[in-house]
Symmetry: C2
Subunit: 548 residues, 2 copies
């Protein structure tokens, strides 16, 4: 008699026991359970979760009425305003995919993204009208519907939209019967990374991952119900590390602001009793170096996630005395923002601050709901020994890993080769299992939380007729974390070219933050096969600088 | 030109970005990240997460070596000991399904479950050897492998196992390469409910739901990392409401104990700084009526989940002064234990205790990761108005809803008719959307947190030759919450039969807690078609009693 598995019969999925995982469920629950709780604070504006949910339904309805639905892209070029927050729910509620554009990019990059992502709609803010107008002008007949998000607080600029955001919402149905995605694997967002080559790659994430990484953020951070979250992290960075959705989950309050400035941040923390915030180390550096009078009168502890670079001892120490408790996380756009955490151990308490900075400076362990982060030998795909010395590549695996790169099967296949997501970061495993980055195989420079592809900067320099060879590496910088430093070898007979001349040449070609801060002239060190030995250049800038 | 959806191409699932959701991942993470943190406390025993994980792997390996795997059932008849905790990880790690047996049941019920569930292995504790031996004797050649969990603290009893649990583990591989389930929809546990008809129904739950409801428990309760959890709730009740897995998720500490007794509970709370516990109202009643000296020296607040019945005002008030903060949750075995929560609103603070008891006494709103709980008109399956008066049936929908009933397609279909899980509980929706139970359509009596099927008790009474008709309803009871009260109509000419005689007749047929506390003789009220009007009987016992 063959064994019949009794569990394999008549126990199938149905509408009662299987629902697509989607963070859109969170906003509905918060609106139902805590309708009167404040969801959004911005200047003098206050909106409850019930009001916010209605606006999101209006947005979804108005988009649907324009024929926008599954498979369509809605791009946004917005600062951290309420419209940006609402877009994270309203756009996917229509079935469309949200593409948040990095507002610091230049017109060619924005044009590329609008074109490659096939955006049907663009929500834009006056502050970026110069870049956006230029980008739109190159799109020809593929110009999306442009919706103007009007904000009195925006600096002067041109109005580009055919309709205002408020008028667009007014045309939507507040009771719109939006649908969860047909499949939790459906795309929810598109985020372009600076990548390492000329054109950015479009990271496609899904509802399942956004749902799980939202819960994972709340769990990793012990983030309670009713948290008050300050938007110091741009929402265009991998959907604000999923935090618009996390706030839906914990029925928290989103305190919005256009600009990261301690003169704005401290009064908001004081007034709204902000409990949580995120940012690159530079955000915290700015906060702790702010005048003492700005910081006065704040008696509670603020929890701060930090990523983009390890927090230096000075930042950890400064935050401690400023009442900010720092938690170091690590991730990439491809893993929905933070997906690893330098989980604090009880035994670290009471250690000297330098020692704690060393321990907290590691990239750590997987997030609670992420499956794995580890260091593998990329040749054999086996784990390197936990000796703190053997360098391999850092890999992720789990449900908070992107679907892949949009219209880029080659890059997708490469990213997932061997059944792991390749971060491109090189690292080691410490004896306690914590992962630590040692180098970036992709040569990305992280400046003020923004990724700069060294190759893109090198390309710009290479366009100058006098440049023979250029190599750009990260130089430690007290303010920005890292800045690009260029090493340039001039063609013979061009010795009179100056740093100022080359920088002036680069400015029209690069976003401002990508322009090198310093150019060093001279012969570049090369291997016997002619490959530039960047590690030697990195050593030179490292030994010439000191962060602390 | 037809529109091509760019998101529908080349963005498929693979080993890097899709992993089956399973709570088994939690124990691995805790063992890796917090290897030295205490996972289990029991008497003088202390085991870290690393040690616990090794024991779970040994258990899985030893089971696999006996040919146990996917589709097989491993039953356990255990109190809240470390072995019971380990079984929640070790059994499903082998691929098998964990069937925790209610240790308060009698031999025929246990025999039915072992037979119906097709248990291949049974882990048992000496305390229950009488019932288990009797149950095993009826199984004939289908007797499972019996493993004896030896515990010095167990009362005297017969040894039934062919091998001791420790010897069984010793034969297992501490590095066993267990696998996640092939599909997150695979069964993880089998739990029998008392149901409403003679034979219990086997609720089959899956890895996906166990994973999500574990996270949901931690989120609903703001349960932080490192929580210390006291096992006052039997783990045989829907897998301890998923809390063995929750403790894996938050790397918490499980403080085990065999018996719910304030004389044991308070010293454990004090010694281990217990932060969280669960139980029926009776657990908290016992605690607050314990002598003051037992409660002395506990300075911290203990969070307590309460379910099974709404906490009365006296319990809420008593807990407040005893330093226990009560949260009322609601659920059933079919929804993985608690799946609705009476979420506290800020506006309730400062209300008089009776008013807070009324508000907290409601079944509430969906858990953070449960999709919906609501009241529908079962005829139309539309939501009843939120008027606090219109009675309908309470329904759940979401990912924390069972796969169905084992080998019972009829009951499964009925439970899921209309795309919602039918709780069988009748209730209303209050104006704030909170669900409130008004009656139990299934006539289940909840006594000390245990479900008693009134029909089972009636069946026992009906076996007595003098009984014409019997109806059993819940009678409010200060200690147990509810107790069974029987109304019996005797056959003509049998007027001399006494209560004592009938109770003595029932005792060998029923578990002790199911034997009626009181028998009322007389003609039963019936409808014109002969159906007993239980609601009239219920009114009689309600008006004759008063809980508070």
């Amino acid at each position: 008699m063959t064994h019949i598995n009794p569990y394999a019969m008549g126990l199938d999925k149905n509408a009662a026991n299987f629902v697509a995982l989607s963070p859109l469920s969170f906003v509905e629950r918060s609106a139902n359970v805590y309708p009167d709780r404040i969801a959004v604070v911005y200047g003098d504006e206050r909106r409850t979760w019930a009001e916010t949910y209605i606006r999101c339904r209006r947005l979804a309805s108005a988009l649907a009425a324009r024929g926008i639905g599954p498979g369509d892209t809605v791009a946004v070029m917005l600062p951290n305003t309420p419209a940006m927050f609402e877009a994270h729910f309203g756009v996917p509620m229509s079935g469309a995919v949200l593409n948040t554009l990095n507002t610091r990019l230049d017109a060619p990059a924005i044009a590329f993204m609008l074109q490659h992502g096939e955006a049907k709609v663009l929500l834009t803010d006056r502050e970026f009208s110069g870049v956006v107008a230029q980008a739109l002008s190159t799109l020809g007949t593929h110009r999306p519907l442009v919706i103007e998000v009007e904000d009195e607080a925006a600096p002067a600029g041109q109005r580009l939209g055919e309709i205002s955001y408020e008028d667009f919402l007014a045309g939507g149905d507040p009771d719109f019967a939006w649908q969860l995605p047909a499949d939790e694997w459906d795309a929810i967002a598109l985020n372009y990374t600076s990548g390492t080559t000329g054109n950015p790659k479009g990271v496609v994430t899904h509802h399942r991952g956004a749902y799980l990484n939202s819960a994972s953020n709340a769990l990793a951070w012990n983030m309670p119900d009713q948290s008050v979250y300050l938007w110091t992290l741009p929402m265009f960075h991998c959907n604000g590390w999923c935090f618009p959705w996390v706030l839906g989950l914990v029925a928290g309050t989103a305190v919005c602001l256009r600009r990261v400035d301690p003169a704005l941040i401290y009064p908001l923390i004081r007034e709204h009793r902000v409990t949580h915030m995120c940012g690159a180390p530079i955000v915290y550096s700015m906060m702790i170096s702010a005048p003492a009078e700005l910081r006065a009168g704040i008696g509670h502890t603020v929890q701060g996630l930090v990523a983009g670079a390890a927090p230096p001892a000075a930042v950890i120490e400064g935050c401690e005395s400023a009442g900010i408790e720092i938690t170091h996380v690590y991730g990439l756009t491809e893993v929905y923002g933070p997906s690893a955490i330098c989980a604090r151990q009880e035994s670290w308490k009471g250690l000297p601050v330098e020692e704690r900075a060393r321990l907290n400076g590691r990239q750590g362990v997987p997030y609670p709901l992420q499956q794995a982060v580890t260091v593998l030998d990329p040749a054999t795909m086996t784990q390197v020994p936990a000796d703190g010395e053997t360098i391999g590549e850092i890999f992720f695996r789990g449900n908070a890993v992107m679907k892949g790169y949009l219209k880029n099967p080659g890059a997708t296949e490469e990213a997932f080769a061997g059944g792991w997501f390749h971060t491109g970061d090189l690292g080691v495993r410490h004896p306690d299992g914590y992962v630590k980055i040692k180098d970036r195989s992709k040569d990305v420079i992280i400046s003020g939380g923004e990724n700069i592809s060294s190759i893109e900067v090198e390309d710009a320099l290479h366009h100058h007729p006098a440049v023979l060879s250029a190599a750009v590496v990260a130089e430690p910088d007290r303010k920005w974390g890292e800045v690009p430093c260029a090493f340039v070898e001039l063609k013979p007979g061009n010795d009179t070219v100056t740093q100022d001349e080359l920088l002036a040449f680069c400015r029209p070609l690069l976003a401002r933050f990508k322009v090198p801060k310093r150019i060093v002239f001279g012969e570049l060190p090369k291997t016997s096969t002619g490959k530039i030995q960047k590690f030697l250049l990195r050593d030179r800038v490292q030994s010439a600088s000191a962060i602390e």
